[in-house]
């Protein structure tokens, strides 16, 4: 019974000490700690790592991955995965370029909306196939990854849209800052906070955790699993669409190959951020921190002049560590649950 309602082995206590204790036990702490440690060590070796331009670059680099990670986290929490986000991002990015080409006077907020709707539609295709066919999302999104990429390549051909083709205000979103933070990064922060609050406080958000922990129990509990999972894919698609529009603003060119290979990086970021691949645990905040960590590693390595070839290997070690920590934590929690239940008997 208690499993479906949430995993808190001890009764909520109001003493400050236990509040601090549970803060430190939060899944986000290891990854946040790793990020802080990384930044400190790098700055010690190369103080220019925290120069204004460099910090701005760090934030800009992380923005797109953060948004993608938030979307992916939603899907992974429900015990699914979406491997097609790279192709979706490419389609939306190229679509944005096309939109500016075809309708140059279009107000920018409308372009964002169009991108998110496009992404949501593609996400809905994934969601519909997964819920209707009852086949693991791994296989479905593997197929749609190919299909979407094929559609993009035949649509785009060798055409590319360059940043010079877009309105200058659009490109400026990636350059202008608001109190030192680039505008698109602020967008990412808003997304993280909004989705994080939703997942924590709103019923349909918490349902996603239930579905990921035990889909059958969730169904018996009255949660309409298919609807929620479909919604998760649609949301992930919309967020990927948002990332696609931002991509067009930030980078020089978009074309047929845009977004290739992103999916595994994003899944890595989410896993490192404490979201278990088997679903049911983790937060979007953790996923966002994971995304920041992974995108900072690359810059860190170049700043400290470490051979950047180590980057992939380090990412691999981080993923494995995250999984191992997750296993230890959940084993301990399971043991506590058993002990508590035995005690209550």
């Amino acid at each position: 019974m208690s499993a479906a309602r949430g995993i808190r082995p001890t009764a909520p206590s109001s003493t400050g000490l236990s509040a601090i204790g549970s803060f430190f036990r939060a899944r986000e702490i290891p990854v946040a700690g790793a990020l802080v440690a990384l930044i400190i060590v790098t700055t010690l070796v190369n103080p220019r790592f925290l120069s204004p331009q460099s910090v701005k670059d760090l934030m800009l680099n992380a923005t797109i991955v953060i948004i993608l990670a938030v979307g992916q986290a939603l899907v992974i929490i429900t015990r699914n995965v979406d491997l097609s986000i790279g192709s979706i991002l490419g389609l939306v990015a190229f679509g944005t370029g096309t939109l500016f080409d075809v309708a140059p006077g279009l107000p920018i907020p409308l372009v964002f909306l169009a991108g998110m709707v496009f992404g949501a539609a593609l996400g809905a295709i994934n969601g519909a196939l997964v819920t209707a066919a009852k086949v693991p999302a791994l296989v479905i999104t593997l197929g749609t990854m190919y299909i979407f990429r094929g559609v993009l390549t035949s649509w785009a051909g060798s055409k590319q849209y360059f940043s010079g083709d877009n309105p200058p205000e659009f490109g400026a979103l990636s350059v202008d800052t608001f109190f030192g933070v680039p505008i698109i990064t602020l967008v990412a922060l808003v997304v993280v906070i909004a989705v994080g609050v939703f997942m924590h406080a709103v019923r349909s958000g918490r349902d996603l955790y239930a579905i990921g922990s035990d889909p059958d129990a969730a169904r018996l509990f009255g949660i309409s699993v298919s609807k929620r999972v479909l919604a998760a894919f649609v949301a992930s698609g919309a967020l990927t669409g948002l990332a696609g529009v931002l991509y067009t603003s930030r980078y020089n060119s978009v074309g047929a190959l845009t977004g290739t290979g992103l999916e595994l990086d994003v899944v890595a970021a989410v896993v490192v951020g404490g979201v278990a691949i088997s679903g049911g645990t983790g937060t979007v905040v953790g996923a966002a921190i994971g995304a920041i960590l992974l995108s900072t590693i690359t810059s860190s390595l170049t700043a400290t002049r470490v051979d950047k070839f180590w980057q992939q290997a380090i990412v691999g070690v981080l993923i494995l560590s995250a999984i191992i920590i997750d296993r230890i934590v959940s084993a301990r929690t399971a043991r506590k649950l058993r002990v508590n239940e035995a005690r209550d008997v």
Binding site: R48, F49, P52, T153, G164, N252, S253, A256, T260
Partner: protein
């Protein structure tokens, strides 16, 4: 994983559905192409016209498109049927199946820009055994594997002109870095080698230091990140040379949106259409290239000359290259097309590629 929850009846239909789908797809596709074949006329060994296949390093590359456009014009003039075959990513292992396809179709001339000088060798050998003539262009293969190499410009000139431009812009002294494409691309490595030799030997460049070479793999994102990396690791960097159109465009994009705009010089080989906005906003003062269309055009004529037996790719051979006149084959089977062009704010609007 969950307990198995399928019913048996599904599997039978899955196989049948799959088979039906595969069959349908094959029929439709081959039906379409069979229809298309009638229109296209005979090709290959059926007494019809000869065929030429262009194999660039990768498709979806604006520079490549211009080259291929010139190649197709050339093929039309020599009366060959042409086609373009290539992978979507610039890697040798992706290129090989297309070499094999051209071989299988009994193509008379294969024009190839190699992603790796050696990896494509064995398949080119097989093509030669099947009777094809091999023309390398843009990026050479190992000379053993091709009959002739068409080079856009004298390789050394390309290297020198970029050094000249960067030296002018940084005032003859300071640290510079090179942002290249892939680590194995033959043309890149040749140019870099000449640049390094020139930096060592020429007294005018005595105060210029080459501090780094990084590789963007002709991928826009990677090149962008490599540029970031360069600027954060080498604070005193005064200039960047990027002898690849993807690299220089990505680097320009980064510089133009950062604090380094105008402070760090950027030059290299770029396409006028891609670089125009950066020249106009001052990120890039001057860069170089040549007319890529000529490259493809001459390659087509070289192929015809080989097939007709006019030349064998030996030093001293000359062949007719249509509008480009007579081209002479130099040392090592290399033929040069023409001199490079410098692009800057004065002339950039005159070009459309």
């Amino acid at each position: 994983m969950e307990l198995f929850s399928h019913t048996h009846s599904g599997k039978r239909s899955r196989r049948a559905a799959l088979a039906a789908a595969a069959l349908a797809v094959t029929l439709v596709a081959t039906g379409c192409s069979a229809g298309g074949d009638e229109e296209g006329g005979d090709s290959g060994g059926e007494g019809g016209s000869s065929t030429i296949a262009f194999l660039p390093k990768q498709l979806n590359n604006p520079y490549t498109d211009v080259v291929l456009g010139g190649g197709e014009n050339g093929a039309e003039e020599i009366g060959y049927d042409s086609q373009v075959l290539g992978p979507l990513e610039a890697s040798a292992s992706a290129q090989i199946p297309f070499i094999e396809q051209a071989t299988q179709e009994q193509t008379n001339v294969i024009v190839i820009a190699a992603n790796d000088p050696d990896a494509v060798g064995p398949s080119l050998q097989a093509a030669r055994e099947a009777g094809a003539k091999i023309v390398a262009f843009d990026s050479d293969t190992n000379p053993d594997y091709r009959d002739i190499f068409i080079s856009q410009v004298v390789a050394k000139d390309v290297a020198l002109i970029q050094l000249e431009i960067i030296s002018e812009q940084i005032g003859g002294e300071g640290d510079i870095a090179i942002l290249s494409a892939t680590a194995t691309a033959t043309n890149q490595n040749e140019w870099i080698k000449f640049m390094e030799e020139e930096l060592d030997s020429n007294p005018d460049y005595a105060n210029i230091n080459l501090v780094a070479k990084v590789y963007g793999d002709d991928d826009a994102d990677k090149s962008f990140q490599e540029t970031q990396g360069l600027l954060s690791s080498y604070p005193d960097l005064k200039g960047i040379i990027s002898p690849t159109t993807v690299g220089i465009a990505a680097a320009a994009k980064y510089l133009s949106t950062s604090d380094y705009k105008g402070k760090v010089a950027l030059t290299g080989l770029g396409l006028p259409n891609e670089m125009r906005s950066f020249v106009k906003d001052g990120t890039v003062t001057e860069f170089a290239l040549w007319d890529p269309a000529q490259l493809g055009y001459v390659a087509a004529f070289a192929g015809k000359a080989l097939v007709d037996g006019d030349i064998t790719g030996e030093e001293g051979d000359t062949f007719d290259a249509g509008e480009m006149g007579e081209i002479e084959v130099g040392e090592n089977g290399v033929a040069i097309v023409g001199p490079p062009t410098r692009f800057n704010a004065d002339n950039i609007d005159d070009y459309d590629f």
